[in-house]
Amino acid sequence: MAADEVLLVSEHVRYKKNKGKLKLLSDKIIWTADGADKPRLSYAYSDIKVQRISPEGSSKIQLQTVLHDGTSYSFHFVNNAYSGAERRDRDEVKDLLAQLIPAHRKKANKDLEEKTKLLQDNPDLYQLYKDLVVGDIITAEEFWANRANGQMSGSDIGSTDVQTIGLSSGFLSEVKPESSGCNELRYNLDADTIAAIFKTYPAVKKKHLENVPDQMTEKEFWTRFFQSHFFHRDRQKTSSDLFLECANHDEQEFLQQKLSNFYDRLLDISEASPVSEQGYGHTKSSDTSDQKNKSDNLFRRFNHQSSMVLKSYANVSSKSVNENSTNNEGEPPSKQARLREMVTYEDLEEETTTKSAVLKIKDKNQFCHGVGVETAKPSQYDTSYTNGTDNHTSYTLKCTLDVRSWQPDLTNALSSDCACEVLTEFSPGGLFMRDTATEINNRGQQSVHTELRQHYNAITELLRHFWSCFPVTSTFLEEKVERMAKCLEKYRDIKLHKFISSLENPTCGEHLTKMIDIAISKYQNLQEKKTKIKLS
């Protein structure tokens, strides 16, 4: 729907004694004075709280709209084309407004709900909202304008999986008859109940289609339905009943459906059961002359009702799936898979060997131990040990002598001074625990981290607004740049400075201030250029 689609134009409408035209657009109502280009009044339907009309018989035919903020606008209809023309005009406007106002209010509420949901789902966004909108740095519209795209896509996703509302299992008993007068019951049926009845009893729907317009009235049909339904409960057969056929049909369908549900190539339960008279409840009892148990009937009806309810849901969800899987005698792929699983044995199948490329290694030993290059230059190791006058032999000799004289003295292996020294090294903040100590401190600084992140979020959001205005091509963008620059300055002066001064390490906030400074210097450049152009 285009935003400025004109739904209704009513000429000869006075507002504050000025003549003009009242136009109802698709989302707002405008009034334009005669001869003027721009509408003098313009407000959205969602802003209107209520509309009032002048009482019958009053001299002036007027319509008043009261907005949510309390202001009201009165329009005086003055069409003199024929007597009652002004009333006709007014009524047209009134009727249309009566439709539009609730529709828009609903829409507004839905928008609001979506927004609150978005905020609740996304704590970062909520924080941003708090920082920017609640802190009066940008307006709510600006905030949401940027989110509009994401929001739309979100609502699209929501609309794709519309879920049909299920049926209350007790819906029939909820239709309570009111007794009025003698021997008369009155049922109040609404569209929902009728739809529910149709869903639950397809046979009734069929009958309704067949009979209602031509053979009987709607009222008659339902009267007979209720009469018969009680009848149906007791299952006494009288030939005159219109719904007797329905009951039979229902029963047939029930049986058929059960059988179709349980159809399985591997199990055949439709065959006569080994135990006669049982048939797992799926075969029709062979002797119909037997009076069935009352409880049997009750169970049957319950089962039928719930299976219909389930079916009405399954129909919707499986419609799209079934379209793809209509091949192979309409068997669902899951069934085929099951069948395959039953008839195939893994160990009888041919072994599938994937042939991978063989790694050709010339010499396996070489691969494991590297290329045997004996030309390796003497390692640094050797040189480092042979420098000076000392050499291997003397070191070895020394070591040998040392070990020769070794007598284990385990009680004096460690002096207590050394041990204490090491203990301090390992204590938090000690030589080796410096990293872990800062780690522990960092944990305490969690709150600072989250706050820093919030500031980053808020500032980047503002900066995004700011930079998106460039290049400044329209007056609107110009205004926005100005506003954003002011917002940024405000944010820096009020919130950021406070935060940075509270930080132990002010360098954390440097990047933030730098980002804002760049934006502001850009804005100042822009201003200078503008003044230059003006001067020249």
Binding site: H369, V373, Y381, Y385, T396, D402, R404, A419, P428
Partner: protein, 309 residues
Amino acid sequence: MAEDTFRRLLVVVCDLSPIWWGKQAANASENSDKMQPINAFLNNVLVFCNAHLMMKHTNELAIVCATSSKSQFIYPCPEDVSDANGEESYGNMDGKYEHFATMNNVVVDKVKNIIEEESADDVNLPENSATLLAGALSMTLCYIRQAERNCPVGQSMKARILVLKGSQDVSTQYMATMNCIFAAQKNNVTIDSCLLMSDSGFLQQASDITGGVYFKITKMESLLQYLLWMFLPDPNTRESLVMPGAVQIDYRAACFCHRTLVDIGFVCSVCLSIYCQLLPRCHTCQTRFKLPSAAMTRPKKKKKEKTAD
């Protein structure tokens, strides 16, 4: 007690390179009087080993020592098991727990033997002086495998390796060492490394890959305290302890051709061999590579033609 189903095996790999220890001794001799570094070291290791055994009666211990000519088990010693009489001959002189006394005595004897042998051999082979870390690790892993297999039913072995190493890495051992490290990782064996005086790239990688602790010690006189503090708790216990932060790990690999550590190398796309220079053909898998220079020239020519047009 569920805890009792685990037998904790600690294998201590000691670097007993006589050259390195001799050098330490020479450096330390200026401020003499103190115990010789190697003797102090061995004392510390023995205390640490006793501490491990003392933690729980199911704890097991093995000690491997590596020199530049060979790696050898010094505890438990296969030869000593045969002559059980020898064990008793060590005696129980000062009321020490027998298990400890036996172990200490075995270690002392074996270490003395090894060093004697080493000094005799080393004169003949002066240039091959690197500690055989890879060999010692291989032996350890084999021992752990065996111990796991011999583990009593209903119990399982949790093995870890502690490497005590002073001498420097030799890049010729790169392949073998890395293979050991990956084998340890596959077998869920943790390698802890305690470096004496100098860092080791190999062991940094080993501990990082197997989830062990890497630690460099500069104060040799406090070695025992470091050992008890850092390496006595098993990896499960360490999770609940605050350990020193991680170190920067040297992940440089050694090339296959010259066995030198390379910062930027060339890797064969087929067999993943590493080379320090561009080769037209991989030495290991004989794959021929197209030289990039040939491919590079063509587009340049086309560009030139285009500009000429």
